[in-house]
């Protein structure tokens, strides 16, 4: 007999995602991803000055502030066909890269590592042997037996106190937890170090953006940073070298710790390369703009259909009609008046019903690309990079596959990436690529300034009549696009199509499920009241519901509620 499991909410952060699965014979047979609150934030922007929009959009979500600010200024610039000075592009790129390093580190360690790492086995770990193992896998200097002993002692203290503190939410002792105690100890030690290293990445954002979490330096047309190498009050060499020094601290943590930990965890759970593929149509947009017209990018993007890299079709820029015309939002199963519209015509008119398995069941709209559901995120980004033969993506992807293969002692090819673990591996690959790009962008900025170019801003001029603009950004959770219609210099319509709406999208008018829903099918579930396996697959997407539905639950659901019917 099948069992229905409801998990609400599922993120460890402010999450408002609800997942329902029907389990039969130990496997998921049907799945629904839904969101439980509506806010209608886009309406707030109507009637405002387009130059102010980014300050509002950066408050959509507390976790991804910077990405919404950037997509917004790009949309306004695009509507005016503006060029952005090179310095401004490089400064924005450095902010994007630092933010992404921070975000990916936090996602893996603080939000999802505990799906795989059982902290409660650590009292059985041997810090000396764990240190030898860690040092054989990585040149990282933070793996001494003394450091690992200290972490073990802390965890023993926590276990003895009967309160697991920050680890109280985990499914400890679950049969699906399989890492040896020594590996759990290493991973937990890095979980703690991650809190320190992600901080350095945030400091970079603060130096360049003026402040974090809400950067102050963006404006349609460029950035507000004044550059004068001889002035204390501006972006000068001293500040640029502070940024470099911080990257030099964060990058080894990404490439020697995070990257290796993902490979090590993956090699102990090889069956998870077989679950969670779901939708294998992938969408990623190019980013890290290299010219003033935003037509050349350091990271390629495009589409891949049916998991076949040979179908790769590049997206060349924000004006590429392939992307601009391809996107629509299907609201057949969402709590909105059914209106399957392009974002420029997009409406946000609520029509709430109860949760109906075969009717409307979510506040998330269903974005579709040429009528198809698409998976977005680091996996889409990495697969497009591989298909485009991007050298950095190829280098880090091959290194990930060979590291996993060496630990697991078997050959592993790129086909394993279409999976739950593949999404984690792709995030670590992308993060390592972005770490390399950060140093390149830093050098480009310094070289351009020392050539004597200090321009950071072009003045936007709004014409009479109506213009439309689209700004995209390949954010940590995937393709983000803001769509703005401006009439006589005032915002007429505004729609944000965010990464989590692509991935958490509901079924569409044809009944085709979205990526979360499809990825859960055939997932094993050993214990219906502890559906760890469902959570593994959902967390692998890095859900961020607070911006997907722009929502807030006044009752403040505080922990995952698991109901088994």
């Amino acid at each position: 007999m099948s069992k229905r499991i409801t998990i609400d909410p599922i993120t460890r952060i402010e999450g408002h995602l609800r997942v329902d699965v029907e389990v039969d014979g130990g496997n998921v047979q049907k799945a629904w991803a839904s969101s439980t609150m509506w806010r209608g934030i886009e309406k707030i922007l109507v009637g405002r000055d387009p130059r102010d929009a980014w300050a509002f959009t950066q408050r959509f979500c507390g976790v991804c502030t910077t990405v919404h600010a950037l997509a917004s200024v790009r949309a306004v610039e695009n509507s005016l066909q503006m060029e952005v000075p090179l310095n401004a592009q490089y400064i924005r790129n450095l902010i994007v890269l630092a933010h992404a390093l921070h975000d990916h580190i936090v996602h893996f360690y603080q939000l999802s590592a505990l799906d795989w790492v059982d902290v409660t086995t650590i009292p059985n770990a041997d810090p000396v042997k764990a240190s030898v193992l860690a040092e054989s896998l990585s040149p990282w200097t933070g793996n001494s037996s003394k450091q690992l002993q200290a972490v073990k002692d802390k965890v023993i203290g926590l276990v003895k106190s009967g309160q697991l503190g920050p680890f109280a939410h985990g499914y400890w002792g679950h049969p699906a937890m399989r890492l040896p105690a020594n590996v759990n100890l290493i991973a937990t030690s890095h979980y703690l170090q991650a809190l320190e290293y992600q901080r350095y990445a945030l400091q970079i954002v603060a130096i360049l953006g003026g402040k974090t979490p809400h950067i102050q330096n963006l404006t349609p047309g460029g950035v507000a940073n004044a550059i004068n190498l001889n002035s204390e009050a501006t972006l000068n060499l001293d500040r640029l070298y502070q940024v470099k020094a911080l990257f030099d601290k964060v990058i080894p943590f990404v490439q020697q710790v995070y990257f290796n930990d993902v490979c090590a965890v993956a090699s102990f759970y090889p069956e998870w390369f077989g679950y969670g593929a779901g939708v294998t149509n992938y969408l990623s947009v190019p980013d890290i703009a290299l010219d003033t017209k935003s037509t050349k990018f350091a990271m390629p993007g495009g589409t891949i259909m049916g998991g076949d890299l040979a179908t790769y079709k590049p997206i060349t820029g924000q004006d590429d009609p392939y992307f601009r015309k391809g996107v629509m939002e299907d609201t057949t199963h969402a709590y909105y008046k059914t209106s399957n519209l392009h974002p420029f015509q997009g409406e946000t008119e609520p029509e709430f019903t109860d949760f109906q398995d075969n009717g409307k069941y979510t506040w998330v709209k269903g974005p579709r690309f040429e009528g198809k559901p698409m998976q977005v995120g680091p996996l889409a980004n990495v697969l497009c990079g591989l298909a485009a033969k991007d050298p950095l993506t190829t280098k880090w992807a091959l290194q990930a596959l060979s590291t996993v293969g060496a630990i697991a002692q078997k050959k592993v090819g790129p086909e394993v990436l279409h999976s739950t673990l593949g999404r984690h591996a792709a995030r670590a690959i992308r993060c390592s690529v972005m770490a390399d790009l950060a140093l390149q962008q830093w050098q480009l900025l310094v070289d351009n300034i020392t050539k004597g170019d200090t321009k950071t801003f072009n003045v936007p001029v709004f014409p009479k009549g109506q213009v439309e603009g689209m700004g995209f950004h390949e954010a940590p959770r995937g393709t983000l696009s803001h769509w703005v219609v401006i009439k006589n210099g005032v915002i007429e319509n505004y729609q944000a199509v965010v990464p989590t709406t692509w991935n958490a999208s509901p079924r569409d008018s044809k009944g085709t499920p979205g990526p979360y829903e499809a990825a859960l099918l055939k997932n094993p579930v050993a214990q219906p009241d502890h559906p760890l396996e469902v959570i593994r697959t959902i967390h692998s997407f890095d859900p961020c519901m607070s911006c997907a539905v722009h929502t807030f639950d006044p009752d403040g659901n505080e922990q995952a509620v698991v109901k088994v019917l």
Binding site: R39, G47, C61, L195
Partner: protein, 177 residues
């Protein structure tokens, strides 16, 4: 020197959830604080809060709190009350991150020693704009922060030229549709 953070938490676009940022905005607009005191609007930082907490020995949070009390009521919670109450009490809409973050920095041994939450009970948590009850509570919540600071021997000076007390999220769209 004791490092003190006065940190406003909340999403400024969701009704009364804007109260935390609005209170710190008002404090910053009217008062100059001595060195070592940081008054900041953190929005909804979730787990990123951990990275900020190690900067401080003492933190005063200002946030909307779910409570049965009347909208606009001000409630002050100590660290033990934040951490010891059973989860069902719902101290704050951001509680999962606040509580989890405090436990995490505790475990690391890097967190602030003293924590206090100045909470304002919301009425409406949809749409842009705060309810009248909560708007009226903003100066009182700011006063509650000043009282806590006084207890910590922090005496701010009134600004000679106040900054704007109207942050961007309180401005109406200039063109109505």
């Amino acid at each position: 020197m004791t490092r003190i953070g006065v940190l406003g938490i909340g999403n400024v676009l969701i009704g009364d959830d804007a109260v935390g940022p609005s209170v710190v905005n008002l404090l910053d607009a009217l008062w100059e604080f001595p060195e070592g005191v940081v008054v900041d609007d953190l929005g909804t930082p979730s787990l990123d809060l951990a990275a900020r907490l190690s900067d401080f020995d003492t933190v005063l949070f200002v946030d909307a709190v779910s409570s049965k009390a009347a909208p606009g009521s001000i409630r002050v919670y100590s660290r033990d009350e934040i951490l010891k109450n059973p989860p069902g009490l719902r101290l704050s809409p951001h509680d999962p991150s606040l509580k989890e973050t405090l436990l995490t920095v505790d475990f690391l041994g890097t967190g602030p020693k003293e924590i206090c939450l100045i909470g304002v009970v919301p009425e409406s948590t949809t749409g842009l704009g705060m309810s009248e009850a909560v708007k009226d509570a903003i100066p009182h919540a700011a006063q509650a922060v000043l009282t806590e600071l006084e207890r910590l021997d922090v005496v701010p000076k009134p600004r000679k030229t106040p900054k704007t007390t109207k942050p961007f999220w309180t401005t109406a769209a200039p063109t109505a549709h």
